[in-house]
């Protein structure tokens, strides 16, 4: 009984100590939160004035005040653009924050610190950070590389980052969708690099460049993209067909009709999609034939394209032949 009582006593004491530690920690944290909230409240009018082009932010602040102010500005940088965001970036450059974070990104041994630095540089939005973020695309850790893409995108993916981003996507150093999002942020400024990569030795680089030109290029790129329909790589042929569907015109229809006979089904399906987007009446009969006779994926794409080009022909044929793909597209059209 004595031993049992002793155990209960010890456990009670331990319990009380733990409870006391937790309560005092909670108190400390809430005091810290209240202090930070008070600092934020005090600085908010100054920050708003600063963001609106008014007087500069105060200097000679205490460390805790500087931390709160920096966090506030970083939050605002995420939701603003234009002159307000530029002012935030300039502030952080003047305070040395950008230089400090670039140095952490380049040399810290801890992954989380490098990833955090890449993230912060994207939020701050200073173009000065571009070379450091490009270099981070070859970081040994995927988290850092992905964050660098995100931050380059936040900076509007400067054109000098285009080649490095395409390399990161094709080498699978960054997630595909994220990398392509990053590249799209460059917009038309990245076109010279993308055009030069149409002749790259690696097929995946050619395919990525073709895809991007399809999104941000214009009709003047159609001729060089059309050459891709004869590429040895099916990925390049597919991306070329899809890109022509976006930036091509009537002059590209014959080449796309020839591509409907490509030996690879995904290329044929892409050609059908492109012809539908170009609303090419000359291809209607050929598309109908593919909708009735080709493999599933191609037949479906051809049926969708035919409805885009000649809905009457597609509807009549659907009723007459009971072709599953045409009937499906007809039903989907009714639902929409």
């Amino acid at each position: 009984v004595r031993v049992l009582l002793a155990i209960v006593l010890v456990l009670s004491i331990v319990n009380a100590i733990v409870l006391f530690a937790l309560a005092s920690r909670r108190l400390r944290l809430s005091r810290h939160d209240r202090r930070e909230a008070a600092i934020e409240k005090r600085f908010r009018p100054r920050v708003h004035e600063f963001l609106s082009g008014g007087s500069d932010l105060p200097l000679g602040l205490r460390r805790s005040e500087e931390g709160v102010l920096a966090e506030m500005l970083r939050r605002y940088a995420r939701i603003l653009q234009g002159s307000s965001r530029r002012r935030i970036a300039e502030y952080f450059v003047r305070r040395g924050t950008v230089g400090r974070e670039m140095s952490i990104l380049a040399s810290s041994r801890r992954t989380w610190r490098r990833a955090r630095a890449a993230h912060v540089l994207g939020d701050i939005g200073s173009q000065i950070a571009t070379p450091a973020l490009i270099a981070a695309l070859t970081d040994s850790r995927p988290d850092v590389r992905a964050t660098a893409v995100r931050s380059l995108g936040k900076l509007g993916s400067p054109p000098e980052a285009t080649e490095a981003l395409i390399g990161a996507v094709t080498d699978r150093r960054v997630p595909d969708a994220l990398g392509r999002w990053g590249l799209l942020q460059t917009g038309t400024r990245g076109l010279p690099v993308m055009r030069s990569l149409l002749m790259a030795s690696r097929p995946d680089e050619r395919a990525t460049a073709t895809q991007l030109i399809g999104f941000v290029g214009d009709a003047s790129d159609a001729t060089s993209v059309e050459r891709g329909l004869h590429d040895g790589s099916a990925s390049v042929r597919r991306e070329s067909a899809l890109a022509l569907g976006r930036i091509g015109g009537e002059g590209d229809v014959p080449a796309l009709m020839v591509t409907l006979d490509d030996q690879v089904p995904v290329v044929r399906a892409a050609a059908a999609t492109a012809l539908g987007r170009l609303r090419a009446p000359a291809s209607a009969t050929l598309l109908l034939s593919h909708a009735r006779n080709d493999q599933f994926e191609v037949a479906r794409a051809a049926a969708v394209a035919l409805f885009e080009i000649d809905p009457v022909l597609a509807t009549d044929t659907a009723a007459a032949t009971e072709n599953a793909h045409l009937l499906e597209v007809l039903d989907l059209g009714r639902l929409a």
Binding site: R44, E49, L51, S52, R75, Y76, I79, G82, S83, S84
Partner: protein
């Protein structure tokens, strides 16, 4: 509720405190009296009670979203003439079309430029 001038009153409905505080600062310093709402339900109540000239509505708000607030403002006789600018992080074409279909007069994508917002507010109010 802040009412210090003869200018048209603007209802600001935004659940994110940083954005709301900045909108309040910019619009009040541009001379507009304002009303503040923290969610869609409060925005509707304030709009019905005070009949502001224009509402700047965040799309993704708790309780009632910006689209629904716009639809309800348009559906009621008393609030039909309130101009609406949607502030949205959802910048897909379909989302923007949805906003206009609900009855919005204009939209602004997040991240946004505060100068552009003030200019759009003036432009939309000028259309009256």
């Amino acid at each position: 509720v802040n009412d210090h001038t003869e200018s048209p009153t603007i209802l600001i409905a935004e659940d994110e405190p940083d954005v709301r505080a900045l909108l309040v600062y910019r619009l009040s310093h541009s001379g507009f009296p304002f009303l503040e709402a923290f969610d869609g339900e409060e925005a509707l109540c304030l709009a019905r009670e005070h009949l502001p000239a224009l509402a700047v509505l965040d799309v993704m708000m708790p309780k009632v979203d910006g689209y629904e607030v716009t639809r309800q403002l348009r559906a009621e006789e008393s609030t039909r003439t309130i101009r609406v600018i949607l502030l949205t992080a959802r910048a897909q074409e379909a989302d923007i079309t949805r906003g206009f279909a609900a009855g919005a007069d204009d939209y602004l994508r997040k991240p946004f430029n505060p100068d552009e917002l003030v200019a759009r507010v003036r432009a939309v109010l000028g259309r009256r």
